[in-house]
Every structure is written in structure tokens, then in C-alpha cells.
């Protein structure tokens, strides 16, 4: 965009950029530096030796994996139906679904809390997974449907002529062709479920072993009476998987999340 013909101009522009990203680096630097204050690396050992430390991660992994799997299959199936199959008044179904597109999760909180405790689901993973899935599906379906609309009908037709029923068309035509969309869905749902805080907090509870990774840093606020160094060490450990995942799959993350932002 800006011309940098001389090396000096290039260095100058890079320097300007470096100054501009300082605000981005400050919290990250603070996080690491603060976590090493006082007893240094021993802060990390205290956090890791916290009873049930791995449960935070296990719970988040279970919730994220289940949410991703369910959202993926339901979205693919629904997009197949909406885009390629003949269903009576399907646009009505579609718009009913799109009505839920921008639902803030806090809106669902009151009925979910009451229903979860009435049905005895409070404290189980399903109490978190089902609302997470419900909140993702309208959006992923909107994205995927428009993607599947772009796949020529002729491909499905050819498969049908070769004797493939709708199951086989789904598995051998749609699923492979929609693979790029799958990456976007996985990234989007992974971020939204791994980063979710409110739903697990309220529906999974704050009992020991029932917490997820986003609650890890703050759990030291009560246990160690606001011990900043442990809180920050906890934040580093909780953020690490995401940072590693992002850096190793940089392009997929950027594209997946951009797909999620625009539509």
C-alpha cells in the first residue's frame, strides 16, 4: 500500500508499526512478567500442583470436542437439506433459524438455569454443550448453506444417477467438497466453546472439578486470597494452548474467524 522504495523508508515504516503494536504487547508482557514475580517459576508449580488442575483442561476439552462434533454434523446435514433437497416451506424453517442468529447467551440464562435445575441437568456437561450447540448452529448453518449453494447441483445429480442415495451423496459428495468450510466451522466453534465463560460458570457450577479453563485464573482469587502471581501464572497456562494452536494453524484461524465475522 505505502511505497517503500528505499531501505530507510522500509525501516521507518517498520519502526512506526513497532511503536503502534506496543499497546498489544503490554498485557501479554504484564501477564508473563507478573507470573514470574515473587517466587519465579515456583508460581507455575503451585498452579500445576493445584488439586484438579488437569480437570480444568479436561472439562474444556470434553465440552469443546463434543460441541464441535455435534455442530459439525448438524450443520452439514442441515445445509445439505436447505441447499440441495426439496423440503416443503424450507425457507420458513431457515428464517426461523436465522431469527436466533444474534442471540446473546445472557438472554438464555434465566430459562436455562431454571430448566437445568428442574431436569437435574445442572452440573452435567450436557447442560453446557446443548446451549453452546444451539447458539452456534444458526450461524454455522448460514455460512455453510451459502457455501453449499455454490456447489453445482450437477455433482449431486451425477452421484444420484450412479445410484447413490441421499446418505451417499452426503458422505461422498458434500462432506469432501465442503472441507474448507469444515475448517472454518471447527475454528469458529472451538474458539467460542473453549472461550465460553458464562455458561459453564452458571450451568456447570463452581464446585471443585467442575470448572473449565476460563475459570482457572480467577479460581486463585478465592483460594489464595487474590494472589496476583498465581492468578497470572494461571492465566498464562490457560492461554497457552490457544496461543500455540493459533500460531501453528495461523492461516486457518485467521480465515475461520474472518468467515465468522462477515456474513
Amino acid at each position: 500500500m505505502f511505497e517503500t522504495r528505499t531501505r530507510l523508508a522500509r525501516v521507518g515504516l517498520t519502526a512506526l508499526l513497532a511503536v503502534m503494536v506496543i499497546p498489544f504487547a503490554v498485557p501479554l508482557f504484564t501477564m508473563v512478567q507478573g507470573s514470574l514475580q515473587g517466587r519465579g517459576w515456583a508460581n507455575y508449580r503451585t498452579v500445576i500442583e493445584l488439586e484438579g488442575f488437569w480437570l480444568y483442561f479436561r472439562n474444556s476439552i470434553v465440552i469443546s470436542l463434543a460441541t464441535i462434533t455435534i455442530v459439525y454434523f448438524l450443520t452439514m446435514a442441515a445445509s445439505f437439506g436447505f441447499s440441495k433437497l426439496r423440503i416443503r416451506s424450507k425457507e420458513l424453517y431457515f428464517w426461523l433459524m436465522m431469527g436466533a442468529l444474534t442471540m446473546p447467551e445472557v438472554v438464555l440464562l434465566t430459562p436455562l438455569v431454571i430448566t437445568a435445575s428442574k431436569t437435574g441437568m445442572a452440573g452435567t456437561f450436557w447442560a453446557v454443550i446443548i446451549p453452546l450447540v444451539a447458539l452456534q448452529i444458526p450461524f454455522t448453518t448460514l455460512l455453510t448453506r451459502s457455501y453449499v449453494d455454490g456447489i453445482p447441483d450437477a455433482l449431486f445429480e451425477a452421484a444420484r444417477i450412479d445410484g447413490a442415495g441421499s446418505w451417499r451423496q452426503f458422505w461422498y459428495v458434500l462432506v469432501p467438497l465442503a472441507k474448507p468450510m469444515a475448517v472454518a466451522i471447527v475454528v469458529l466453534v472451538l474458539i467460542n466453546s473453549w472461550n465460553s465463560y458464562l455458561l459453564p460458570l452458571v450451568l456447570l457450577g463452581q464446585a471443585h472439578g467442575h470448572m473449565v479453563v476460563t475459570q482457572l485464573p480467577n479460581s486463585f482469587k478465592t483460594q489464595y486470597t487474590d494472589d496476583q502471581t498465581k492468578i497470572l501464572a494461571g492465566a498464562v497456562l490457560a492461554a497457552l494452548p490457544e496461543i500455540i494452536a493459533y500460531i501453528s494453524l495461523q492461516r486457518h484461524f485467521e480465515r475461520g474467524m474472518a468467515a465468522g465475522a462477515i456474513k
Binding site: M1, T75, K84, A134, D149, G165, G256, K263
Partner: protein, 350 residues
């Protein structure tokens, strides 16, 4: 009920009309049974079923007494708690905060996002490193970063450390921070005399939340602008350059007009974010002090799990929030339809 379209029973696909185009708008007459329904049903039931059930339930609870809570007798009181919400200054304060938050975050994201995208589209050193640094905040959970942000804005935190070393803050013997002479003179004269470098306080806590949100969302704006800029025809840029446009002139007159669809998308995205906002205000400032950073999300949460729970009132506030979100949703579908033709499925062609 006449099945005029001959579709084989195990294939829900429409028999091929010789030439076909476009997606799945209904062609021909409807088949009496809908063989494809099974495909959309699971997703439909989970999403629409759960969400619409919740909304219906919510509507019912909102008509109960405002301080109703589970295991209390439920008597329909009508719209009392709606009146209560509209009479409540806190409701309007939360709305005002949402609006301020939306405008500030949106404007800063657009400006910074475009600048970052333009610089990184130029030749700079270590571009990938900068890209990662700008985007990492988008990926990390707000709840995980919240304690860090509390630390960043603490009285003895890094922000004040930087300001102190820039000579803008002095530290008294008791550890209190205050502005040095000229800053405090300046602030008093622009009517911000109540702002002291003690950030989580009524006059500044809302801006702390806004700053924190901007920190965690510029990366998203940057990626969107970066992708949009990559789609500008290089010949357009070349023509502008030949006409003698400099870097900044080109950015303002050529690039920014091309960014319109992205700016619209960002506006919608930010409106939704502002309405959904919970993690940052709850964990960084707890909506306070004195409700100075209260948002609808934290307000509803406090009604449910605060000192005493008011489920009826929480449901009413939720319904009002829902109406706002629905408004955004409608705007979203209208604007994407307008934007679509030229920029078909932008960012989706992954």
C-alpha cells in the same frame, strides 16, 4: 396432493430439469411428503427448539412478579416489571454504556484496523510477527485475560508505570499517584478534572472496559480489512499512483471507499458484541464501581445471582435485550443482502 414431479422415493433430489442453476429454491410442485426434512430436523430442533423454548419461557417469567424466583408461587402480574425496567435509571445507564461502548470500539477498530492493514500490505520487516501479535488477543479468552487487564490498569500497574516514566504522573510518599502539574492543568481545562490515574473508578471504568475490548478486537478488524485490501484491483492502485497520489492520499481516497462492505460488517459485529458483552465488565470491573461500567449482561446477571435474586426482573431485562438483538439481526440480514452481489460470500471462500 398430486405428485407431478417424479422423484424416486429414496432420492429426495429433484429430478433433473435439463438445465439447472442456483441453489435450492423450490422447483416444481411440492411432493406430499418431505423426504429431505430429516436432514434439517436435528439441527433445527436443537437450535430453534431450545432457543424458542427459552424465549417463550422467558416471556412467561417476565410477566410474573419482578422479584419472583423458582419455588415461589407464580402469579401473573402483567407488565409490572417492564414498567419497573423503564423506570429504572440503571437500565438506561446500561443502555447508554452499550451505545458509548459500541461507538468508541467501532470507530477505533475501523481507524486502527485500516492503518494496520495498509502498513502490513506494504513492505515491512517481520510482517508475520506483527500480524501474530495483533491477532493473538482475538484468540485468547476474555475471561482468561481479565485478571491481566486488572493488573495492567492497577494503580501500580504498567500503564501508570509508563505514564510515570513519561513524566505525566507523580508518586507521593504514601504511594498515591497523581498527575504532574501540566497534565492536571490540561485535564481541568478540558473538563476532565475528575480523571485521576486510578483507572478503575467511576469516571474512567467504562473506558477501561472499552480499551480492553478494543485491545482484544482490533486483530479481527485488521484481518477483515487486510483481506478486503487484498481484493482491490492492483490496477486501480497503480492508476492512482501514476496520477501522483501519495501513500496517505491513496489510503483516504482510493482504499477507504473500497472498505465500505467491511465497515458495514464491522458495525454489525460490534453492535452484537456490545449487546452480548459480559466477560470483561463482569471480571475486570464487576460492572462498577457504583455501576459505572454496568452493561445489560452484568445487570441481568446481578438480578439472578446478586445479593437477592429477581428472576422476574431478569427475564424482563432479557426480553428487552432480545428485542435489541433481534433489531440488529434484521439489520444484518438486510445489509448483507445489499452488500452481497459485489462481494459474494466474502471471507467465506476459504
Amino acid at each position: 396432493m398430486a405428485a407431478s414431479v417424479t422423484a424416486s422415493p429414496n432420492s429426495p433430489l429433484v429430478r433433473p430439469a435439463p438445465v439447472k442453476s442456483g441453489g435450492g429454491a423450490s422447483r416444481g410442485r411440492h411432493h406430499p411428503t418431505s423426504p429431505g426434512l430429516g436432514w434439517i430436523l436435528p439441527g433445527f430442533v436443537v437450535a430453534v427448539g431450545l432457543i424458542y423454548f427459552c424465549i417463550g419461557y422467558l416471556g412467561y417469567i417476565s410477566l410474573l412478579p419482578w422479584d419472583w424466583r423458582p419455588r415461589r408461587p407464580a402469579t401473573i402480574e402483567g407488565l409490572d416489571s417492564y414498567v419497573r425496567a423503564f423506570d429504572s435509571p440503571l437500565f438506561w445507564t446500561s443502555l447508554k454504556h452499550t451505545l458509548v461502548f459500541f461507538i468508541a470500539a467501532f470507530v477505533v477498530q475501523c481507524i486502527m484496523g485500516i492503518i494496520f492493514a495498509a502498513i502490513l500490505h506494504s513492505k515491512v520487516y517481520a510482517g508475520t510477527l506483527f500480524k501474530v501479535l495483533i491477532f493473538v488477543p482475538v484468540v485468547i479468552a476474555p475471561a482468561i485475560m481479565s485478571p491481566v487487564h486488572r493488573r495492567v490498569f492497577a494503580v501500580d500497574g504498567p500503564i501508570n508505570w509508563i505514564l510515570q516514566h513519561l513524566g505525566m504522573i507523580q508518586v507521593s510518599g504514601t504511594g498515591n499517584r497523581d498527575w504532574t502539574g501540566w497534565i492536571s492543568w490540561l485535564l481541568t481545562h478540558i473538563g476532565m478534572g475528575n480523571v485521576t490515574p486510578n483507572w478503575i473508578q467511576p469516571s474512567t471504568s467504562l473506558w477501561v472496559i472499552i480499551a480492553v475490548q478494543i485491545w482484544s478486537s482490533i486483530g479481527m478488524a485488521f484481518i477483515l480489512f487486510y483481506a478486503a485490501m487484498g481484493q482491490i484491483d492492483p490496477e486501480v492502485l497503480e492508476a492512482a499512483r501514476i496520477d501522483g497520489a501519495g501513500g496517505i492520499r491513496m489510503l483516504v481516497s482510493v482504499v477507504v471507499p473500497h472498505m465500505k462492505p467491511t465497515i458495514v460488517a464491522l458495525a454489525i459485529l460490534n453492535a452484537i458484541t456490545a449487546l452480548k458483552l459480559f466477560d470483561f465488565p463482569y471480571l475486570v470491573t464487576a460492572g462498577g464501581p457504583a455501576h459505572s461500567s454496568e452493561f445489560l449482561g452484568t445487570y441481568i446477571y446481578a438480578q439472578l445471582f446478586g445479593v437477592s435474586s429477581h428472576y422476574g426482573y431478569a427475564a424482563t431485562l432479557s426480553i428487552l435485550l432480545l428485542i435489541l438483538a433481534l433489531g440488529v439481526s434484521i439489520m444484518m440480514s438486510v445489509s448483507t443482502r445489499e452488500v452481497k452481489p459485489g462481494h459474494k460470500a466474502k471471507g467465506v471462500r476459504v
